[in-house]
Amino acid sequence: MIFTFSEDYETAIEILAKGREIADSLRLELAAISIIKHDDIANTYIFCGADKVYSIDSELHADIVVDCLFSLINQHKPEILLIGGTRLGKEIAPRIAQKFGAGCVTDCVDFSLEHEKLMVKRFVLGGRFIAAQRFLRNPQIITVPPRRFGKKLDTARTGEIIKTSAKLAEPRVQVLEIKDKSSQMLRIEEADIIVSAGRGVKKKEDLVLIESLAKALGGVVGCSRSVAADLKWLPDEHWVGLSGHKVKPKLYIAIGISGQVQHIAGIRDAKTIIAINSDPNAPIFKACDYGIVGDLYEIVPKLIEILQ
C-alpha cells in the first residue's frame, strides 16, 4: 500500500497523481490520509487517484499528525509514504521515519523504478548536484515539494472512504498565536525569486511594473549595474552582478537587461534564468533558459495579469 498525506490541498492532490503512477507500476493500493475538521474533500482525493481515503476528524497539529500516521502505518504496513513537502510535512516525515527506524528522503524531485524498487532523486551540495537514493527498508518515506508535479482529476473514479479516529495524546507543543507575514528587509542573496530591471526600463516610475511582477510572484526586485550605479533608481542592495550582489535564486527574471558579463557572472548560480528583451541579439539570450523577444511594456503587464 502507498499512503499519501498533505495538509495543503493542492499538494495533496499533486502527490496523489504521483502516488497513482507509482501504485500502478508496483501494483499497490493508494490510500490518502486526510486530517481535517469536517472533512469534505475525501471524495476529491478519490477523483485525484486514491483507492481509499482514511479520514480523521481532527485539528491540524504536527504532534497529532505524527500520532495518526504512526497508528495507521502500524495497522496497514504501507510500503511507501508520500508526504507533501510543506514545512509541516518536512517536520513530520522524519519524525515518523525515526519512529520506524526508517529512511526518509525530503524534497524528492524525481521518481523511477529499477527492478521494482523505487529510486528517488534530490538536490544536494547546495543544489549544484543531484543524488540518486534508494531505501534500505520499509516504510519508504518521501516528501515531495509543492508545485513540482502535475495533478490529475477523474470524476469517474470510485473508492472507499473510511472514517477513522486515532487515540490522540495531548500535543506537547502549544500554539499560542498566528501572525501574518508582512514585508521584510531585502536580502537579495537569499531570495528565491528575483525580478530584475535593466536599462530597457525607460523611466524610474516604470519600475513599478517590475515591482508588481515581483509581488505577483512573491519575489524581490533586483537590477543591473546601470539602474543602481548610474541612474541610482534603486539602492545598492538591489544591484545584481559581480560588483553588486551574487545571487542564487530558483528563478531569475531579467527584464530589459542586455546581459553584460559582470551581470551574468552574478546570476550564474540561479537555477532558471528567464530573459525579456527587445533586442534579439542581446547577450542575455545566450545565457538564459527561456527568453522572449519583445517590448517589456507589453509583455510585463500581460504577464502580471495572467499570473494574478
Binding site: 549595474r225 550605479a229 559581480l242 560588483s243 558579463v261 559582470q262 551574468i264 557572472a265 550564474r268
Partner: protein, 399 residues
C-alpha cells in the same frame, strides 16, 4: 621546516576574513570615494580586537605575534584594496608594538588603551621635507627644558594627520637630540597632535589610499611631558629601525592581500568573459599571465611570512640578529609592492575598458599599492641599500 600556520592562526584568518567581508568590503568603494573611513568601521575593528593588535592585553590589545598581525593585514587589504584601512591598521600594529616595548610605563598606560579601543590614532612621523631616508639630514629637534621636552621642526608625508587631529592621538616621532652625533644623536618621542599649542597640520591631495589622510605636521615650540620620551635618549635610531622592521612586513602583507584579491577577481572574470567564441580563460596567452601572476604572488607571500616569522622568533626565542632581520624585512618590502602593483595592473588590463572604470574596483588598488612603491614606510632604493649593506659589508656602504 614547516610552512603551515597553527590551527589558531588558520581559524583567525577565517574569522578576520568573515569580519572583513561583513564590515569592510561593502564599504570599500564608499571609503575611497568619500576619502574617509567611517567611524563605525573603526569602532567595529576595535571591538573585534584588530586595532593595536600587537599591543599587550593589559592595554586592551591582543598581544598578537607578527605572523598573526600579517594575516590580519592581508585580510584587511583583501577587503579594501585601496589600502586605506590596511594603512590605518598596520601603522598602529607596528608602532603601537614599539611603544609597548620601549615607551615609559606611564606613557603606555596613558596612550595604549585608547589606541586599542579605537578612540585615538597612533602613527609614525619620520619623514621631513628635506628627505625621509637620510636620517642625518633630519632637522626636527627635541631639547630638555626643566621637567619638559620641547620639540621644534616639521614632518611631512605623514599618514593619518587628519584622523589624529580629529580623534586625538599622535605620533612616534623621530627627533634630533644631539645634532652633532648624526644618527647616534636621534631620539624617539610620542608627539600628540590634537589641540596641542604649537602644532598645525595640513592634508595633501594624494593619488590613492584616499580613505586615510596624508599630510604635514608643523611643530613650533611644542612642550611634551618627559615620560613621552620613548626608550633612552640618543638611542632613537635603533628603535626607529626596529619599528620599521615591525611595520614593513605588514606593509608587504597588505600589498599581497590587495593583489591576491585582485587576482582572484581577475580569474573569476576571465572565466566568464567570452571573446571569439570562448572564455578568455581558455586562451593560452591568458593562462601564462595567470600562472605568472600567481607565481609572483606566492613568492612575495613567502617572503612576507618568512620576515614575520623571523620577527616572532627574535622576540620570543631570541633567534636571528638585527642584521638578519633587516635583510629579510627589506627583501619582503622590496618585492611585495612591486609584485602587487604588477598583478593589479595586469588584472586591470584583463578587464579591458571595464577595468578602467571605478566600479570595477581595481584602479583604487593600483593607486593604493603605488604608495609603497613611491616609498611610504621606506623607499624601495633604501631597501636595496639595506640588503646590499648586509651582503657586501658595512665598509662598502655608499653613505
Amino acid at each position: 621546516m614547516d610552512f603551515s600556520f597553527t590551527e589558531e592562526q588558520e581559524l583567525f584568518r577565517k574569522s578576520v576574513r568573515e569580519f572583513c567581508e561583513k564590515k569592510i568590503a561593502p564599504k570599500a568603494n564608499e571609503i575611497d570615494e568619500k576619502g574617509e573611513i567611517p567611524r563605525e568601521v573603526l569602532d567595529d575593528m576595535a571591538a573585534f580586537g584588530l586595532l593595536g593588535i600587537t599591543i599587550s592585553q593589559e592595554y586592551g590589545g591582543s598581544g598578537a605575534d607578527f605572523i598573526t598581525a600579517a594575516i590580519a593585514t592581508e585580510e584587511i587589504a583583501r577587503a579594501d584594496i585601496s589600502m586605506a584601512i590596511a594603512v590605518y591598521y598596520l601603522v598602529e600594529a607596528g608602532w603601537g608594538f614599539l611603544i609597548n616595548r620601549y615607551g615609559s610605563k606611564k606613557a603606555q598606560e596613558e596612550l595604549l588603551p585608547d589606541v586599542t579601543k579605537g578612540k585615538t590614532f597612533l602613527g609614525i612621523a619620520s619623514t621631513e621635507a628635506a628627505g625621509g631616508s637620510d636620517v642625518a639630514a633630519l632637522s626636527t629637534t627635541m631639547t630638555k627644558e626643566g621637567e619638559r621636552l620641547v620639540v621644534n621642526g616639521s614632518k611631512t608625508f605623514i599618514s593619518g594627520v587628519r584622523e589624529a587631529a580629529k580623534y586625538g592621538g599622535g605620533y612616534v616621532t623621530v627627533v634630533k637630540t644631539s645634532p652633532e652625533l648624526a644618527h647616534k644623536g636621534l631620539s624617539l618621542c610620542y608627539l600628540p597632535v590634537k589641540d596641542v599649542p604649537g602644532i598645525t597640520t595640513n592634508v595633501f591631495k594624494q593619488m590613492g589610499r584616499d580613505g586615510i589622510s596624508t599630510g604635514a605636521i608643523i611643530i613650533k615650540n611644542v612642550a611634551i611631558p618627559a615620560h613621552y620620551l620613548i626608550g633612552d635618549w640618543n638611542n632613537g635610531f635603533y628603535y626607529a629601525m626596529e619599528g620599521f622592521n615591525c611595520a614593513r612586513p605588514l606593509v608587504a602583507a597588505a600589498c599581497i592581500g590587495a593583489a591576491g584579491k585582485a587576482l582572484e577577481s581577475g580569474i573569476e572574470y576571465i572565466k566568464e568573459r567570452r571573446a571569439f567564441g570562448s572564455p578568455l580563460a581558455k586562451f593560452e596567452g591568458m593562462q601564462f599571465q595567470v600562472a605568472d601572476a600567481y607565481a609572483k604572488l606566492e613568492s612575495a607571500r613567502l617572503l612576507v611570512y618568512k620576515a614575520a616569522w623571523m620577527l616572532d622568533q627574535m622576540y620570543t626565542k631570541n633567534r636571528f640578529s638585527h642584521k638578519e632581520i633587516n635583510k629579510a624585512v627589506a627583501v619582503a618590502k622590496l618585492v611585495a609592492p612591486t609584485v602587487a602593483f604588477d598583478i593589479i595592473k595586469d588584472v586591470l588590463i584583463w578587464h579591458g575598458a571595464y577595468g578602467y572604470t571605478k566600479e570595477a574596483g581595481l584602479e583604487k588598488g593600483l593607486r593604493g599599492v603605488a604608495s609603497y612603491i613611491m616609498g611610504a614606510e621606506g623607499a624601495q632604493n633604501i631597501m636595496k641599500l639595506i640588503i646590499s649593506r648586509e651582503l657586501l659589508g658595512k665598509e662598502f656602504a655608499p653613505y
